[in-house]
Symmetry: C2
């Protein structure tokens, strides 16, 4: 053994330059799915939801949507705006909707598969505020939005861009220009577009074509961006949400149709009842999308939890949430569509409650077989705040999940009989060949977790995980380099924004 | 509707006196078990462990243990103290060991079933220190031990007493008297006895007989207490641990035989290799117990995790830990024994890291099918500290698990078709009959979680979950009333302790 090699070993550093490299893209979830219901009760929930749609009806506030559904065969009562849809029409919609599809990024390595065993993690969505330990909670700005895009681009375990935090310093009629420009220039991952009326959506589509250099035909041939459609539970679809479904389906882009069915508030107090309502509303939105364009990519969304009956506030990460997630996953598989679930918390701070509520939710979604786990990084306070520190804590947990998905190799060499034979009883495996060959790649290296002893930890300032996370997000932002967008496209994007801004922008509906 | 009824409704308070009462005792885990290995690789791990035992051998430092194994048919090399055991002998031991058994409490409602689908939660074990937010980390005292017994008695979701924190203010030769007296007088739950030599163990058994009013014969007829046996990995069983196995088996009491196999330190760096070593060591201890008394109650223990390769410190709640837990559960089912796993963390504070490491570990154990989840409340800093606040946070998570285990009822009434029909689109379910009939019992009521809005939370002092937990454990201790032990037994117990103390107590081996 050379002196250099021995010295390396003495310091616990092997000569090899092998470093642990794990690909967190294209994740598949191999865990067995947990059911909430027997097959016959699952069928009963599906059937009851169909009865809600065909016997009770859904109120559809958008004129064009009612007309589309009428032409597809639904019965409409114009005075009340109530739409009743026969189960045959719903079933046909479920047949035309793709069971899996790919959302496309700037280049193919950023493509994200939705459906089957694929699982994608999506950061915080739609929070008006942002918070960090230095400046506390405050209205979010474009710079905050851009910072969260940067964090999402940096970590491979984040697969899609998200509704993010709101750029409240930019007027709503101009906001989408700046946000979509940021999404296109700071990240290569498939991105999100708000459904705030056709004018804004058309702008977004135009910017996508420019940013990715696509013809209208190439753009419409496959999905490059997605929107989230929230129904107005119970049993109501409002004007911009319907318009979003119509516009996205028409352009072949993806809609994630997500009722926010809080048991005991906007939904029945029983979790199965809340799931019936969720299912009825989601199926109505899916039927609308498929009536616009059969084959339009749609995701079956669920966000069913319970309220706190004392305060009336939403609760997340509860046992009810977890069991509803198991059930929602079953319903998604029952209808054969990709499923969007959530990892959520009601906590007001990035504290212990935030972590256990988030992680209970996340396990519920993951064991339910979620394909698109939304709010998976940085979501706080029931969605009112995006937390920079929580984003980092969540990345640690998401990376842990990604590693759990990676099956253990158990070849004979991994069973280590020879290594066990070579190490004396009561001794240790620190320096043995079997260890030295593998230790650099053997284990997940944590992002936030501190395993120093109490004395070292105290000497380092007794920092909690959230306090350490504060240093990590700052470091990531300091080191961030934007993935350069083609110069010509960048200029065309800017020209587009200038022209449309000069024209007055696009008001939200 | 009477005026009184209307008023009740107005305040959101129903007339009924029904309150939510959930029985957290006698829990069964209905979740589908997650495997880590295919059936043939599981068999390969089992086979390799048998090869370790029969070809490489285990070093057994206790003379009596070697003699017992020799008489049972093992081959012994006295000079090296190495014991090699044929697989036939191991297999016979696995056949005589009960696949399930009951640990008995002071009265039958405190009995705890171990094995099958039953799951029991056990608090912090063996921590020399205790910590709380007021006084920080400090050496634990008898009063700390007693406080943790009180917390464990208070919460129904805690099923067994535990090694607790160390009563460092009591000399070791007298400590077991005061600790066991505390366990018998402050709690009715089956309790723990340290294996610190036969003299202490005999004292403990005598105190159990006095405390429960049992004859020697009745005592030995079924298990009333348990011990934890940690092997000295790799491949070594020390003197007191062997003696503990012998003494507990002889008296028909329960041994939880738990190798602490840290991959990359005391065990191979690969998780399957670490499981091979764990399995070999546990099987050796089990074979010793069954050689002493066929049918002696034993639990297959596992505590396999990985070290942090930078610091050499143990890591917990890692992806490696979770997958090892899946594998350990498979191994336990393969040999048909109850399985002990752990919920663990290396964090130095009851912070966000403590929660996510704990909860990842706990999900790993629970999805692995754990029967006895040890360190499930209050364990911190890799077992060096018992944290009062962490105890409360963990109870919240354990109660959440207990609720998740409780399947959703999904009768037609729960599907709520009529309720959905009765509520207008865009309205809400707050006051409807279906909600009013159920809301008091519909949802889990949290212990620590705060769902107030940001303004209220700020007005209440912006407390984190750990800070709120500080108030909760104090309140529980303030309100605690010891479950009175029969006066005569109590006096006999005290007389026994006085006499034995006067005789000089019992030194630990």
């Amino acid at each position: 053994m050379s002196r250099r090699k021995r010295r390396g070993r003495h310091h616990g550093i092997a000569e090899t330059s092998r470093q642990r490299k794990v690909n967190y893209r294209g994740l598949k979830n191999p865990l067995i799915r947990q059911p909430a219901f027997s097959e016959d009760r699952l069928e009963a929930i599906h059937d009851t939801a169909l009865r809600v749609i065909e016997e009770l009806g859904i109120k559809v506030l958008n004129d064009e949507a009612r007309e589309i559904l009428r032409q597809a065969g639904a019965s409409i009562e114009e005075a009340s705006q109530m739409v009743k849809i026969d189960r045959e029409l719903v079933t046909a919609a479920l047949e035309s909707a793709p069971s899996e599809f790919t959302l496309h990024g700037r280049s193919p390595e950023y493509d994200v598969r939705l459906g089957g065993d694929s699982i994608a993690f999506v950061p915080v969505g739609g929070a008006p505020h942002v918070s960090d330990l230095d400046r506390g909670k405050r209205p979010a700005t474009l710079e905050d939005t851009r910072n969260i895009i940067r964090l999402g681009e940096h970590f491979d375990v984040i697969h899609l861009q998200s509704p993010n935090v709101e750029s409240q310093d930019i007027p709503v009629h101009l906001r989408h220009y700046r946000v979509i420009e940021s999404q296109l220039t700071l990240s290569r991952k498939p991105f999100f577009v708000y459904s705030r009326g056709s004018a804004q959506v058309e702008d977004a589509f135009a910017m996508t074509r420019i940013g990715y250099g696509l013809s209208q035909q190439k753009f419409e041939a496959k999905p490059w961006c997605y929107t989230v459609i929230n129904t107005n539970s119970p049993r109501q679809l409002d004007i911009p949400m319907c318009q979003g479904i119509i516009d996205f389906a028409r352009a072949g882009q993806a809609s994630v149709i997500t009722p926010f069915t809080l048991a005991g508030a906007m939904a029945p107090v029983t979790m199965p009842g809340a799931l019936v309502l969720q299912h009825a509303e989601a199926l109505t939105g899916i039927t609308l999308a498929q009536s616009v364009r059969p084959g339009a990519p749609v995701v079956y969304g669920s966000f069913t939890s319970n309220v706190d009956m004392k305060s009336g506030s939403p609760a997340f990460g509860t046992p009810e949430f977890v069991r509803a997630a198991f059930g929602a996953g079953q319903l998604a598989r029952h209808i054969g569509l990709p499923w969007r679930g959530s990892a959520a918390t009601a906590s007001n701070a990035p504290d212990e409650q935030a972590v256990y509520e988030y992680l209970m939710s996340a396990w519920g979604a993951i064991l339910g077989g979620v394909n698109m786990m939304v709010h998976a990084a940085g979501w706080l306070e029931g969605g009112l705040t995006g937390s920079m520190e929580k984003f980092i804590l969540d990345i640690e947990m998401l990376q842990t999940f990604a590693e759990i998905f990676n099956p253990l190799t158990s070849s004979d060499a991994e069973l280590a009989y020879e290594a066990i034979a070579a190490v004396d009883p009561g001794s240790h495996f620190f320096g043995c060949e079997h260890t030295m060959e593998r230790y650099q790649t053997a284990f997940y290296e944590p992002l936030v977790s501190d395993r120093s002893n109490f004395g070292q930890w105290t000497d380092n300032g007794s920092l909690t995980a959230t306090q350490r996370a504060n240093g990590i997000w700052k470091q990531v932002l300091r080191d961030f380099e934007a993935p350069a967008l083609d110069q010509a496209r960048n200029e065309e994007l800017r020209a587009f924004i200038e022209r449309r801004s000069a024209e007055g922008g696009a008001a939200a509906d």
